[in-house]
Amino acid sequence: MSLIHKTAAELGRLVASGEVSAVDVTQAHLDRIAQVDGEVHAFLHVDAEVALAQARRVDERIARGESLGPLAGVPIAHKDVFTTADMPTTAGSKILENWRPPYDATVTGRLREAGLVILGKTNLDEFAMGSSTENSAYGPTRNPWDLNRIPGGSSGGSSAAVSAYEAPLSTGTDTGGSIRQPAAVTGIVGMKPTYGGSSRYGLIAFASSLDTPGPFARNVLDAALLQAAFSGHDPLDSTSIDQPVPPVVEAARQADVAGMRIGVVKEFGGEGYQPGVLARFHEAVELLESLGAKVFEVSCPTFGYALPAYYLIAPSECSSNLARFDAMRYGLRVGDDGTRSAEEVMALTRAAGFGPEVKRRIMLGTYALSSGYYDAYYGQAQKVRTLISRDFDAAFQQVDVLVSPTTPTTAFPIGERADDPMSMYLADLCTIPSNLAGNAAISVPCGLADEDGLPVGLQIMAPVLGDDRCYRVGAAVEQAFESRWGGPLLAKAPAL
C-alpha cells in the first residue's frame, strides 16, 4: 500500500520506528498534490521546500531520541484561516491576498511542536462563510467523488485534500457546520469539538461565540489523535475551557455502543431531505441497534428555529469582527491617492476586497444589531439560543447521544445554489444546533445515496465536553460499516 493511502496512525508509527522518514512521507503527499490538485484545487498555497524542511527537522528530532507524540512526521493541511508564520494566510479573501501573519495560531503552533508537517493551506469560503467553498475569492474546490460537485464548505479545501489522499489529516473550523457538512459530502470523518475545547487564538474570527477548530481524517481514530494533539486549555483564548481534554483517543479505540442510549431527533427528516440520505440514516440507526444500543425518538422542538437564529447571530458577530479589515494596518488598501479620507479608503477597500456573501452577512448583521431592530432580531435569536440549549439538556437526560443525518442532501452541483443564499443556508440545517449550544458533534460516513452514488454522513451529537462519546459511537459505526462494505467508504470513490 502506498504511503498516501495509509492512516495517520500508521504513518506516525512508521516514522517513529524509523521504517520510513518524515521526508519520504511528505514527498509522497507533495507528489500526490502535484498529480491531482490541478483538478481538485484543495490548496491555496503549497510550499514543498518549507514542508520538506519541516520534515527534515522532525527526522532529526526523532534521530536524537526526542519523544514527539503519535503524529510526528505525519503531514497535515491547514484551512487557510489559521495563521501560519511561515506561509501566507488569506481566509479565502482578496482583502488578505499575500498577507503573511507574524505569528502562529495556537492550533498550528501546537501541531508544529508535535512534529506534524504542514503541506500547505487549504481553500475555503471567504472568511468561512458558506457551505460550498464557491465563495472563495480564489475559485471553487471540487469534490473528489465528482469534480462537478461542491466539496462542502466552508472547510471544503480541507475535506477535499483528505478525501483525495493529498493529506492524511487536515484542520477546519466549524461555525454552523463547516467541518461536519464537508466531511459528510466527501465521505470522510469531521469533528466539531465542544466550543472552547480547541483554541481560537490565531484563528481569523467569523462569529466568535460559535467558531470551533476541529479535525478532518479518513477514519475516526485519526481524527481523535489530531483533536487530542491540538486541544487543551490556552490562556491566550479567554473562552478556552480550563478542564482536561475528554478521552477521545481511548473512546475511538473502545468503539463499543452496547447499552448506550441513542436518540433520533424527531425534527430532522421529512420534507427537504433527499430520500437516499434518509435511507442511509435509517440503516445506520438499525446498525446501532444491532450493535446493542437502545434507540429512542427524542423531540427537540426549538431545533426548527436554529437556522433563522443562527443567521441572525452569526452575521451580527461577523459584522463586528470584520470591522478590523479597515485598510490601515494590514491587508488590501484601495483608492489611497492622497485626496481621499481614511473613511473613504476604508469603504472602497472593503467593497473591493470582500466578496458578495461577506458583504451580505456584514449588512445583515448590521441590520439585526441596529437600534429599533435589535430586540426583534438579535435579542430574540439569543433567547432562541437559550431554548436550543435547553432542548439539548432535556434530550441528554434521556439519551447518551443524539443522531441525525449530517446534511439534508448529498453534494450538489457547483453553481446550483451559488446565487441563492437561502437555499445554500439549508445545507447547515442539522449541524447548526450544536454550534448554538456549544456541544460536541461528529460526522462519520454511513454509505452512498441510491439516487446519485454520493456519500452520506451520520451526525452524532454529544453533550458539552462529551466529545469522547462522539468518537466512541463513531468508531463503532465505522467498524461495523467497514466490515459490511469490505473496507472504508472512500475506497468506492472513483480514481482521480
Binding site: S209, S238, Y311, M363, Q380, A381, S389
Partner: protein, 99 residues
C-alpha cells in the same frame, strides 16, 4: 411589502463602510429582503421570559496572570502594513477638512 428597501441597503452599506455600486444595491436589496423575511421566523417562538444567551459557556471575567511575555517587534507589527512611515502605520487623512 418588502422589509428591506434599496435605500435601506444604501444606509446599511454606509454603516458597514462598504462603497457599493448601484447594481450591487439592487441585487442585495432583493436578497436581504428574502433573508430577513426568513430569519424573522424567530419571532414565532414564545420567549418573553427566557434569558438570552450570548454564548454557549457560562464564563464571566476570565483573567490570566498579568505577566510580561514576548510581543511583536515594530518590524513584525508593521510587516503587513499597506504604508509605513517612521516605524508607524501611515494612514490617509482622518479629518474632514484640511487643518
Amino acid at each position: 411589502m418588502s422589509a428591506i428597501t434599496r435605500d435601506e441597503v444604501a444606509h446599511l452599506a454606509r454603516l458597514s463602510r462598504l462603497a457599493l455600486a448601484d447594481d450591487e444595491l439592487d441585487h442585495f436589496a432583493a436578497q436581504l429582503d428574502q433573508i430577513v423575511g426568513a430569519v424573522a421566523r424567530v419571532s414565532e417562538v414564545a420567549a418573553d421570559d427566557i434569558p438570552p444567551s450570548s454564548h454557549a459557556l457560562p464564563l464571566t471575567n476570565v483573567f490570566r496572570p498579568d505577566e510580561l511575555r514576548p510581543s511583536l517587534t515594530p518590524q513584525e507589527a508593521l510587516s503587513g502594513a499597506p504604508a509605513v512611515e517612521e516605524d508607524r502605520f501611515r494612514v490617509p487623512r482622518i479629518l474632514g477638512e484640511e487643518a
